[in-house]
Symmetry: C2
Subunit: 284 residues, 2 copies
C-alpha cells in the first residue's frame, strides 16, 4: 500500500501547488488576541481590493468561529460543486469567499475538531476550491499562533506576507508581538501592523475617549521594526454595519474609517509591488 | 514495553484524578469569539471569589495568548518546584495561578504548538501543579471550541459547569451559541451567560452609547434556555486597570462594574450550591 499512498500524496501536493500558482499574492491576516477586528479587516481588505478592480478570494480558516459569511451578507449560502472542484460563494463578480459555514447545516453547531482534522479542512479550502486566477487570496485566520495559521503557512508554497491586527491596549500589543515573531520564524514577510478600534468619538458630544487607548500599535511597529499600516477609528456604526453584513468600505460609505482603510490598502499594495509581486490590474 | 506504558498511563491518570478530587468546583470560562473579555471575567471571578474567602486556583489554558499574569499584576514571575510538584504563582494568600507565561523565558516568543503538544501542556497544568485543597478552580480557555477547551473538559473528571462570555453584538452571540452547544455535547452544565462590554457611558457628557449594542446576551440566554448571569458595563477605566494588572473587583474599587460582577459571583455560587457542590467556606 505504501507506494500508492506516496503517489497520492504527490498528486495532492501537485494539485495544491497548481491552484496556488494561479494566485499572485497570498496575504494572511493574523492577530495574537481575539476580538481585535481581524475578520473585519479581512472582509474589508478583500472588499476594498475588489472595488479597486482586483480579482480577490477570501478564505476563512477560523473553523470554530467562522464569521466572514455574516459580515459579507452572504449567510446561509452554500458551496456548489463543479467539474473544477468546489465553487466558492460569489460576493461580487470579482470577490469569491470560502468558509466552513458554507458547508455547515446548522449555524449553532460547534466544530469540535482537533488539529489534524482542522489541517485537512484547511488543505481542502486551498486545494479543492476553484479559486481560478486571482490577484489576491486573503486568509482570515483565528487568533493566536496555533494549528490553523501554522497549517495555512505550511501548506501555501509562498505566502506573500502577513498583516497583523491589534487594538492599542497593552494586552493586545503583547500578543501582536508574538504574531510578528511567529511570521519571522516561518519566514513570512510582515507587511505591517494595523491599529484597530483606535479612539472613540462620542456621537452625543463629539469628544473622543481612547476606549482601548491609542497609539500602541504604531509604537509596537516601530519597536519591532515593521511597517505601521495605519489606524482605524472606533465608531459604533462599524459594529452595526458588520452585524448587517455590509463592509464599511462599501461604495457610498465615505466615513473616516473607510478613508483610513483605503489608505491602508494602498500601503499594502505598495509593499507587495516593491517586493516585485505587483498586481496585474493595478491602476495607480 | 507495552505493559509498562499502560502502567505509567494508569499512574498518570491516578495522579490527575487525585489532584482534581481535592478541588470542589471546576468552572471553565469560555467564549465563542475572542476579545469579548473572557480573560477579564476569569481573572475577576477568581479574585472576587478569593476576596469572599474562598480558596481559589486560576489556570490559563490559552497557550497562544496567555494574559492572566499581566491582568493579575504578576508578570515576570516564574513557577518554582517543590516535593509536591510545580508550585503555582501566589497572587493572594488564597489565590494561586498557573499560566504558560510563568514558564516562558521571553514574553514575545510565540508558542507555535499543534494540538497534541497543547493537550500535554494542559495535562501538566492539571496534574503536576500543586493546587492543594481548593473551593474553585477557574479554567480560562482560549476562544472557540478547539483543542484547548476540549482537552480540559476531557482531562478533568468532573467539570462543575461552564460560564460563557459574550458581547451583545450579533457576531459574538452567534459564536456564544456554539459554546453552549459545545458544553451540552460534552455534558457540562451551563452555569450561564455573561454579557460583557454592555453599553458605554461617555465620560465627557455622561450619555450612553451601546457600542457593541446591548441586551443580546440576555436574549440569547433566554432563547437557549440557560441562565443569564448579568451584564458588565463597558468603561474605559476597565481597560486601563487590566493593563495595569489590577482586577476591577479589587477592594476599594466600588464602581458599577465591580458591583455587577459581585452579583454575578453570587449567582454562580447559587447555581453550584443548588447542584449540591456548595462551598465549604460559604458564608451567605
Amino acid at each position: 500500500m505504501k507506494p500508492i499512498q506516496i503517489a497520492e500524496k504527490k498528486d495532492e501536493d501537485k494539485v495544491l501547488k497548481d491552484r496556488m500558482s494561479r494566485i499572485k499574492n497570498k496575504i494572511i491576516v493574523m492577530s495574537g488576541k481575539g476580538g481585535v477586528g481581524k475578520t473585519s479587516v479581512s472582509v474589508n481588505l478583500s472588499y476594498a481590493l475588489a472595488l479597486m478592480g482586483r480579482e480577490v478570494g477570501l478564505v476563512d480558516i477560523d473553523l470554530h468561529g467562522p464569521n466572514i459569511a455574516k459580515m459579507l451578507g452572504v449567510e446561509g449560502q452554500n458551496f456548489t460543486g463543479s467539474d473544477n472542484g468546489i465553487e466558492p460563494v460569489r460576493v461580487l463578480p470579482n470577490l469569491k469567499a470560502a468558509s466552513i459555514s458554507f458547508a455547515a447545516a446548522n449555524p449553532d453547531m460547534p466544530i469540535i475538531w482537533r488539529g489534524p482534522l482542522k489541517m485537512s479542512a484547511i488543505r481542502q479550502f486551498l486545494e479543492e476550491i476553484n479559486w481560478g486566477e486571482l490577484d489576491y487570496l486573503i486568509i482570515d485566520s483565528p487568533p493566536g499562533t496555533g494549528d490553523e495559521p501554522l497549517s495555512a503557512c505550511q501548506l501555501i508554497p509562498e505566502v506573500s506576507g502577513a498583516v497583523i491586527v491589534t487594538t492599542p491596549q497593552d494586552v493586545s500589543i503583547l500578543d501582536a508581538r508574538k504574531s510578528v515573531f511567529f511570521a519571522r520564524q516561518l519566514k513570512i514577510p510582515v507587511i505591517g501592523i494595523i491599529e484597530n478600534m483606535s479612539g472613540f468619538v462620542c456621537p452625543h458630544c463629539g469628544k473622543e475617549t481612547p476606549i482601548f487607548k491609542k497609539g500602541g500599535g504604531e509604537k509596537a511597529a516601530k519597536n519591532l521594526g515593521v511597517p505601521f499600516l495605519g489606524r482605524i477609528p472606533f465608531e459604533p456604526e462599524l459594529v452595526e454595519l458588520a452585524d448587517r453584513g455590509i463592509p464599511f468600505v462599501s461604495e457610498g460609505l465615505d466615513g473616516i474609517p473607510a478613508r483610513a482603510f483605503m489608505e491602508i490598502c494602498r500601503r499594502i499594495e505598495e509593499f507587495l509591488s516593491e517586493k516585485g509581486t505587483g498586481t496585474p490590474h493595478s491602476r495607480s
